[in-house]
Amino acid sequence: MLSVEDIHTFYGESHALQGVSLEIGEGEVVCLLGRNGAGKSTTLKSIVGLTPPARGRVRFEQREIQRMATYRISRLGIALVPEDRRIFAGLTVKENLEVADQAGRGAGKRWTIEGVLEAYPMLAELRDQDGATLSGGQQQMLAIVRALMTEPRLLLMDEPNEGLAPVIVQQIGELLDELAQTTTILFSDQSVPFALKHATRAYILEKGQVAWSGSTREMRDDPSIQERYLSVA
């Protein structure tokens, strides 16, 4: 479904991605692991064109998208839930959703505002509240649901758990599992257990390169992988 081939991305003058390649098949849930600054965010941003790669190719359903404008990539069916959530401050919860609502752009409508508000009553209660005043967990929910409004077939989530309390993390995990039924997902995280639980495959990034990739089962069975790349060891 998505293939990222040897992309190099510069962040200002820092060589953030130094030849990253990924493959994601339809229906998969894949996790990107790695420490801070390893290039997880940049990889996701490069896929949606926010930090377009200087070299390499990104293909989505056989179309090359590495030079496409972000909004067109979004309309092709890739949505990003960014790291810091980037809720439109000053817009209410409902308005945040409406901005992303692709109604009228034809093609099977899975998510409607009424529908999601019904499905996620927590957001329904907050519908008229300024998005900036929500708690971290609420913002994260909103950011995910907002991404859904664009009718994605591939959902990218950048550290959906960052800074959230365990009980919220669990909720996010449940949501992720639920979405995985219908949507292909690539998410990044620093938490290994979370990745192991929700993803089938993982890539570990280190210094802008893929240091390891394989199934989460392999990773679980071989704790040394975690120790080597991710722990304090």
Partner: protein, 289 residues
């Protein structure tokens, strides 16, 4: 004393006209991060188009309220597409300089097309005449200006809060990248916002045409006034623009009368005080576009 009420009403019509002009400037600044020096020139174009429609084509006034702003918006689209969009990513001085150049160009083109004479557009029959408030006379047209201003306040408020287009504009002003990420065609939104700002300025021009003498460079004066309004109210703040316009309207409505010796200083003094005590403006802060 009887004219106090009339002065108050008068301050209000000055204020609402200022609001209509300044709000376009502020929207363009809020979304595009461009200080548009040519905004007053677009207002002037609105007035001149009205003059052409009413005095030269002989049409009634009302259609100009539709035609002239659309024509100015079309001009704005051309400006945005061929010039302005190339400087968004640069330092703010570049767009400042570019729109200053635009001001010179439009001013001179207007002089070439319409000549230097003073032009007057008659108000429509419906809006002629005066009525009495507390013993003072007040023109019906002033009420129309107030009405139009309030329609714009309401309309823009409704647009920003009730419609998807308004939310998209606000979203684009808050976070362009994120707006793109949720599928919004941001370059088109930017063109649209600039044209929209011009459209509003032109409405100001159409409304002003029957009450202000139309002449070359009539937009140059209004631009600094608009800066004052926007700064007092708050850069990027919609309700702030309204408040700023009211404040400046009152300064004009009463300052010249009660403090004639420092009447010219007052608006700038107000502006400086606001900047020093509350740089984000009276209503500034994050939030509505």
């Amino acid at each position: 004393m009887e004219s106090f009420a009339a002065s108050l009403l008068n301050s209000l019509d000055i204020a609402l006209l200022l609001f209509v002009i300044a709000v376009g400037l502020n929207i363009v600044f809020g979304v595009l991060n461009v200080i548009n020096f040519a905004h007053g020139a677009l207002y002037m174009l609105g007035a001149y188009f009205t003059f052409t429609i009413v005095n030269i084509w002989g049409l009634p006034y009302w259609p100009s309220l539709i035609i002239a702003p659309l024509a100015v918006a079309a001009v704005a689209i051309v400006i945005e597409r061929v010039m302005l969009r190339y400087v968004y990513d640069r330092h703010i001085t570049d767009s400042l300089l570019l729109t200053f150049a635009l001001l010179l160009i439009i001013d001179d083109l207007v002089l070439m097309i319409w000549g230097p004479g003073i032009q007057v557009v008659e108000p429509p029959a419906l809006l002629k005449g005066t009525f009495t408030v507390f013993g003072g006379r007040y023109p019906v047209y002033g009420l129309f200006v107030i009405f139009m201003g309030l329609v714009m306040v309401w309309g823009l408020w409704a647009l920003f809060t009730k419609t998807r287009a308004g939310r998209i504009m606000r979203a684009a002003s808050i976070d362009r990248d994120m707006a793109q990420t949720v599928g919004i065609n941001v370059p088109m939104v930017l063109t649209g916002v600039f044209a929209f700002g011009a459209w509003i300025a032109a409405i100001g021009g159409v409304v002003a045409a029957p009450m202000r003498a139309i002449g070359p460079a009539m937009g140059d004066k209004i631009i600094i006034e608009s800066f004052i309004v926007v700064v007092i109210g708050g850069l990027g703040s919609f309700p702030g623009t309204f408040l700023g316009a009211i404040v400046l309207g009152l300064i004009h409505g009463f300052g010249g009368r009660y403090l004639p010796d420092i009447s010219l200083v007052l608006p700038y003094l107000g502006m400086a005080l606001v900047l020093l005590l509350r740089p984000q403006g009276l209503m500034g802060g994050r939030g509505s576009a």
